[in-house]
């Protein structure tokens, strides 16, 4: 197949790189202020460029960046789906951008939108109440941990100090539980890639506060024993937490609330197509069952009998997980996306995401153990180094999958095409996988060669950290 030539964005002398702002004109300004000298600094040194040059600087940098609009982005567990642009427009209207200290009476529109989004997410997740406050998925996990703790405390079960997490779980699960002060009890997966019931049984006990579970899990497999798992956790007195990272695989087919989950978070930047923005902002709303609703973060939004919307503090609220009310503009985009797709669209998105994953898994010549897959699958690069495979795939014009994780699969290539790729795109993606599968180690080790930058030295970056232009020669 042909190379995708990212280098076309480069200037004619291709060894040139876009200079740092610091290498353009820097201006040192003496600070002359209406304040007394002893309260002010002496000077500030920053680049000083006129607008045309800045515009070109950032446009060139954008051209050195791969996004979903550039091509397939099958990064497993990240659900990199197309971000429809109309949601940007609604988030940009003046009324979306009010100050968080405005009175409830004066922001009825914002409160109604919050209320309606809480309602939509509750229906989609099968949960009784939803808070929009957590500003990302991991923040949602942490909020969930706080809720579980408050719940157990309220029930006189404050001694529960362990959170059980399967080895295939996202790293955030472990870190969020630890942030809440819990001991993490890791359990191994079974041979079928799912929760090992015996291992779970052994891990559960009177100290169990919660089990954090992703379903389908990070291997793309549905936890078929979910009802048994739920019963086991609840019998032990624990709560079942749903990591919403893979919810795109279930929309309209199954709901965490119906499976017995007590707490869940939504990653609106995954499931509901709000842009990841190069690493954020996201939003991580958390849904709970009725028993946990009184503990939700402050404030929450409800509708009064007169049809007004109001903020209130839930009776036994855990307090706050964000200084204000989270990443609001992201939530506006999520609302507009859900409203556009409706039942049919959400359900179809899930269907096509699952179809695409299974179809691609079928086309890829690498070993793909287990299955059937929900919206992602994990191939094994076998004798090849998965990280090298990923670098080489860049030369074929696609973003590679997530690599070397989950560790249950040797040299894992964790792949999630999402619903937005056409069959021909999937065929191209498979061609890229399969072309690399036949290549020798030396070719792989020298890749990529056709990208903005060639293989970057990560070791030196970590050994000799240079983290600002002040550290450069």
């Amino acid at each position: 197949m042909e190379y995708y030539d990212q280098a076309r964005y480069q200037p004619a002398d291709a060894d040139n790189y876009e200079p740092l702002l610091s290498e353009k004109d820097q201006t040192s300004v003496d600070v002359d202020s209406p304040l007394p000298d002893d309260l002010t600094r002496d000077d500030v040194t920053l680049p000083s460029l006129e607008e045309p040059e800045l515009a070109r600087h950032y446009v060139r940098l954008s051209q050195q960046n791969y996004g979903v609009d550039s091509g397939p982005y099958p990064l497993g567990s990240c659900t990199m789906k197309y971000n429809p642009r109309f949601t940007e427009d609604v988030a940009a209207v003046d009324d979306a951008s009010v100050h968080p200290d405005r009175s409830g009476d004066s922001v009825q529109g914002t409160l109604q939108l919050q209320y309606d989004l809480q309602d939509y997410l509750g229906r989609i997740g099968g949960m009784d109440a939803v808070t929009l406050q957590p500003p990302a998925g991991a923040a949602g996990e942490f909020a969930g941990i706080l809720l579980a703790e408050a719940y157990h405390e309220a029930n006189g079960e404050g001694h529960r100090d362990e959170v059980v997490v399967p080895d295939a779980a996202h790293g955030t699960n472990f870190a969020s539980a630890a942030l809440g002060g819990y001991d993490v009890v890791e359990i191994p997966s079974g041979d079928d890639g799912r929760v090992d019931i015996d291992a779970l049984e052994a891990a559960l006990g009177e100290n169990t506060a919660a089990l954090m579970l992703t379903n389908p899990n990070t291997l793309g497999l549905f936890e078929r024993n979910i009802e048994q798992i739920s019963e086991m956790v609840h019998d032990a007195g624990g709560l079942l937490y749903y990591d919403g990272a893979n919810l795109n695989a279930l929309l309209g087919r199954a709901r965490p609330g119906d499976m017995g989950f007590d707490i869940m978070h939504f990653n609106v930047h995954k499931t509901f197509a709000t842009p990841h923005g190069g690493g954020g902002p996201g939003a991580g709303p958390v849904g709970v069952t009725e028993d946990l609703a009184e503990f939700l973060p402050d404030p929450h939004v409800r509708k009064t009998e007169s049809g007004q919307y109001e903020r209130y503090t839930p009776e036994r609220s855990v307090g706050k997980v964000h200084g204000f009310e989270g990443n609001w503009l992201v939530l506006v985009k999520a609302f507009a996306y859900i409203d556009r797709l409706g039942d049919d669209g959400l359900s179809d998105a899930s269907a096509k995401a699952v179809l695409n994953a299974n179809y691609l898994a079928e086309q890829v010549e690498y070993d793909v153990p287990l299955g059937p897959f929900h919206h992602e699958f994990v191939a094994s690069a076998g004798d090849q180094d998965a990280a090298d495979v990923a670098k080489r795939m860049l030369d074929y014009g696609v973003h590679p999958p997530t690599t070397k994780w989950p560790e249950l699969v040797d040299e894992a290539l964790m792949t999630e095409p999402t619903e937005v790729e056409t069959k021909s795109n999937l065929d191209d993606l498979a061609d890229a996988f399969n072309a690399v599968a036949g290549e020798d180690d030396e070719t792989l080790a020298n890749a990529p060669t056709r990208t903005t930058a060639r293989l970057i030295d990560q070791t030196t970056a970590a050994r000799n950290p240079r983290l600002s232009w002040h550290d450069l020669d």
Binding site: V31, E88, H99, V107, R224, I226, H276, G278, R340, L355
Partner: protein, 440 residues
């Protein structure tokens, strides 16, 4: 319409793919036990794009159109048009975390430049490339302090002017590490050094102060706060923001070990409180820093290149032993702040910051002439905002002002807080007139 408008499959393609997979229908691929299958409906009607836009805007349009004079830790400055246009480049907005640096050099360089801006403004050696907001950044600072001062205690001291919500976040984040958060008193809007000295001891791991403060005053004895923290082997954490830091005492010069704050003062509208958490610290704490760091390196051709670095601190590698649970951060918001800062340049930032000293000074003087109002209530220098004493009950004044089209904060029975920046400066004459109507 039926189906997702963003799943582009034709029926023929779908059939061919099902054939290839070896099933008759997509439903066969859903490996879900019947007992937990969802066969209901959400009850959400699919809509055209036009109708979905209208539905969202119809709700938002119910917000009253008020001139906002609200601050207290969340501020708005005019955002140059260039910021919107450049940040909306789809390569920026539709990309993910830079796990493959060879095809994400553009974003990495922007984040490196953002880190550099904060290093310049704080004078500290290291800045990460974003936390969620000021409150969570402060919480991470407390956790860092607990880790690096693990043998010497568990108390975090914050001034009483910090917002309750920010303290709640701090308490939630640190409870798991058995840290206790205590407030120390202030005097006329600024740190009361004697009172702070009385409560500080060797069990303190972090002393926090702000400049400017949540009530809009400029702190005048930060060196002494830093020394006091030092005397007890505690870290000194300063809360600020990039505009203020452009003119106020350089955090490193007053002994700050960590700087937190909200950089959404650059690049963002009010956004109902969406933030951009600043986190900078001394280089000695580098391996304890939460969140992402971008470092400079070289590629195979020896050309300078950028990459995420020191990832072994992070949750995706270190799991429960990570320095933080943060994964998705505020990268795109940081990009907007970086573009805004670059478009202002050093001159523009200093000019903007100086206006943030002059505007509240001038507005306070005008309000002080209004019968029933004494402003500013604190005999301090101010930045962006100030407290005004009102003879009439402050909540009633705020409500009356709202009826006149102005939003201000009533902070207690007889104080309102007023924030003025370049974003609402045009409405100050009308605000003063409204005060004359309602304050008497």
């Amino acid at each position: 319409m039926s189906g997702s408008p963003y799943a582009p499959h034709t029926e023929a393609e779908t059939d061919a793919m099902l054939d290839a997979v070896g099933v008759d229908s997509v439903e066969e691929l859903f490996d879900i036990p019947d007992s937990v299958r969802f066969d209901g409906e959400f009850g959400i009607d699919a809509k055209s794009e036009q109708a979905a836009v209208a539905e969202t805007e119809r709700r938002l349009a119910k917000n009253d159109d008020l001139a906002e004079f609200l601050g207290r830790g969340h501020y708005e400055h005019y955002v140059p048009s260039l910021v919107d246009h450049l940040s909306q480049r789809s390569e920026f907005i539709t990309s993910y975390t830079q796990y493959q640096p060879e095809v994400t050099q553009g974003f990495l360089q922007v984040l490196f430049e953002y880190q550099s801006l904060l290093v310049e403004l704080t004078g500290l050696g290291v800045a990460n490339c974003s936390m969620y907001d000021e409150a969570t950044a402060l919480a991470e600072a407390a956790l860092l302090a607990k880790r690096v001062r693990a043998t010497s205690g568990d108390r975090v001291l914050v001034p009483d002017y910090v917002r309750d919500g920010h303290v709640s976040v701090l308490e939630n984040y640190t409870a798991g590490a058995d840290v206790t958060v205590e407030r120390y008193p202030t005097d006329d809007g600024n740190v009361d050094l004697d009172a702070l000295a009385d409560v500080a001891d060797d069990d303190v791991v972090l002393v926090y102060a702000e400049n400017p403060t949540t009530v809009g005053t400029i702190e005048e004895s930060l060196d002494a706060v830093g020394d006091l923290a030092d005397d007890h082997d505690a870290l000194f954490c300063l809360g600020s923001d990039p505009v203020a830091m452009s003119v106020l005492q350089r955090p490193a010069d007053v002994g700050a070990d960590v700087v937190v704050g909200d950089a959404s003062v650059l690049g963002m509208p009010t956004s109902y409180g969406m933030g951009l958490g600043v986190f900078a610290c001394k280089e000695e704490f580098l391996r304890q820093v939460p969140g992402r760091l971008v470092g400079a390196s070289e590629d195979a051709d020896g050309t300078r290149a950028y990459t995420l670095t020191l990832q072994t601190r992070e949750q995706h590698i270190r799991k429960e032993r990570a320095t933080s649970n943060i994964c998705t951060n505020q990268a795109w918001v940081a990009l907007r702040a970086a573009i805004h800062a670059a478009s202002l340049g050093a001159d523009g930032l200093v000019d903007l910051a100086n206006r943030m000293v002059e505007l509240p000074r001038d507005l306070a003087a005008r309000l002080d002439d209004v019968r029933g109002v004494q402003a500013p209530a604190n005999d301090r220098h101010h930045f962006r905002e100030f407290l005004a004493h009102t003879d009439q009950p402050a909540p009633a004044i705020a409500a009356d002002l709202e009826a006149e089209g102005f939003a201000v904060n009533a902070v207690d029975d007889h104080h309102v807080q007023i924030c003025v920046t370049d974003a609402n400066e045009h409405a100050t004459d009308a605000l003063v007139a409204a005060f004359e109507e309602v304050a008497n």
